[in-house]
């Protein structure tokens, strides 16, 4: 089973129909474990119980970038390898990524209110994530603006690849600029700065959110394939109706001319 075998949408639908229930079940189990562990995690000595927002906020923020990464690879698939399902993958991922980004911004601002004393601060990390959110929305607008999916796919692929420049800016913004948002503490040189009691639930939640994304993404891709089938069926039907009415008009005209001749 290679990637090219999945180019057949029917085979893709059959495979995902088998995989999806398992993925959904794994997501639910891991989310339950993660949330339970997060609720047992000790309070921070400075932040108190609000530190638990982290277990939702950080996975959302990771996913907001991860989804754009997935879309960038799918865009390469559209432009370079011409994989037939690549643009379906890219299109299905955009609204999910926008939702993760929105949740990251929302939970971040709810966390910022008690900790920083403000819901919003124009610092580098927050601004670059906001730009990411705007670009998700722009991409969705682009998909909706064009009725031909393959045409929209190539335009969206170019825009996605250009927007991928924002990802390293988001990742390193906290190191490049000395801002209010804390610097990287989980993935950094010299090991994580987090205590184990926080780190393990956070990693479980991150894996659970990744699985959640995979589940939603595959389901959305299935929907998109089915939507395209419905669209092509409708267009076939419309052309058939147009064709038969054309033929009908022709025959009516013929009978009319015959009648005229007889008269």
């Amino acid at each position: 089973m290679t990637l090219i075998d999945l180019a057949n949408p029917t085979r893709f639908l059959a495979l995902t129909a088998r995989v999806l229930p398992w993925l959904a079940a794994a997501t639910v189990i891991l989310l339950t474990i993660g949330l339970y562990q997060a609720s047992l995690a000790p309070d921070d000595y400075q932040q108190g119980a609000t530190v638990k927002i982290m277990f939702i906020h950080v996975p959302n923020a990771w996913l907001s970038m991860f989804v754009w990464g997935v879309m960038s690879i799918a865009s390469l698939g559209t432009l370079v390898w011409r994989h037939p399902l690549a643009d379906v993958a890219a299109k299905a991922a955009a609204p999910i990524g926008a939702a993760f980004t929105f949740l990251a911004l929302l939970t971040g601002s709810l966390w910022g209110r008690p900790m920083w004393g403000t819901y919003w601060e124009w610092d580098a990390r927050l601004t670059s994530v906001l730009i990411l959110f705007l670009m998700y929305l722009g991409l969705m607008a682009l998909w909706r603006a064009v009725d031909d999916p393959s045409r929209a796919a190539r335009a969206a692929a170019v825009l996605t690849l250009v927007g991928a420049i924002n990802l390293p800016i988001i990742k390193f913004s906290v190191d490049w600029w000395n801002t209010l948002h804390q610097p990287a503490s989980v993935m950094r040189m010299g090991g994580s700065a987090l205590d184990k009691s926080f780190l393990i639930p956070l990693l479980v939640m991150a894996i659970a959110f990744t699985l959640l994304f995979l589940t939603l993404h595959l389901a959305a891709m299935r929907n998109e394939i089915l939507r395209r089938r419905v669209r092509s069926l409708q267009m076939m039907q419309a052309s058939r109706v147009a064709f038969s009415s054309e033929v009908g008009a022709g025959s009516r005209q013929e009978t009319a001319s015959k009648e005229a001749g007889a008269a």
């Binding site: 705007l134 603006a145 692929a157 250009v162």
Partner: protein, 222 residues
């Protein structure tokens, strides 16, 4: 090389003649800046504090407004197809077109800045700083905007969609442009750091813009 210089000369000539609309951008810039005192009140101290931001916003909107002329007219009369099929690499042709567009509609904005600075009660140094940052920053606006213009022309959709696509990409330029000019007027920061980042943004967009626009034209035109 001669093909590219011919392309640049042709584009500038078209833009400056009747119906070209290069100078409409300047007029729009002037109008936006004149509107601002009506919105915030004719308080000279406040205006001189907001001056760089107003000038930058006006220049951003003016350059956005003229962007759809970059490919649309050539697409309508078919010369874009000739450019796409010619032996000159499409990336270079795109870069030449963007350069011509910047010379015809970006440079006049910078020339107009000192006059508008007077209206906003900016002193000599501040006006010079804004003009310098605009000189360094507007190429980035044109070259990233070119990506949006190329997408819009292949999709036969202009206007609002292009604005939605291009504006997020131009936020960094706006941030560092205003930061550099504010640094001269009030700020504790030095002028050099944000200005260098602004120049870096322009150089990066100079590389990325033509490639992305050419890819979009090559894949999108039929």
């Amino acid at each position: 090389m001669t093909a590219l210089s011919a392309l640049i000369r042709r584009d500038i000539r078209i833009a400056l003649r009747v119906g070209g609309g290069a100078l409409i951008g300047v007029l729009f810039f002037l109008t936006v800046v004149v509107l601002m005192p009506f919105a915030v009140g004719p308080d000279l101290a406040l205006l001189s504090r907001l001056g760089p931001a107003i000038l930058w916003l006006g220049a951003l909107l003016a350059s956005l407004l003229t962007l759809d002329r970059l490919f649309m007219a050539d697409h309508d009369d078919g010369s874009l197809d000739l450019i796409t099929m010619s032996r000159t690499p499409l990336e270079l042709s795109c870069a030449a077109k963007a350069l011509a567009h910047w010379l015809a509609s970006g440079l006049p904005l910078i020339v107009a800045t000192p006059v508008l600075g007077l209206l906003l009660n900016l002193d000599m140094v501040a006006t010079g700083a804004v003009a310098l940052t605009l000189l360094a920053g507007t190429p980035a606006l044109t070259f990233t905007g070119m990506i949006g213009a190329a997408l819009a022309v292949t999709l036969h959709r202009g206007g609002l969609l292009m604005a939605v696509l291009v504006l997020p990409l131009s936020i960094p330029v706006l941030i560092f442009g205003v930061a550099a000019s504010q640094a001269v007027i009030v700020g504790p920061l030095t002028f050099g750091a944000p200005f260098s980042i602004l120049c870096a943004l322009s150089l990066v967009s100079l590389v990325i813009g033509p490639f992305a626009a050419a890819a979009s034209l090559r894949h999108g035109l039929d």
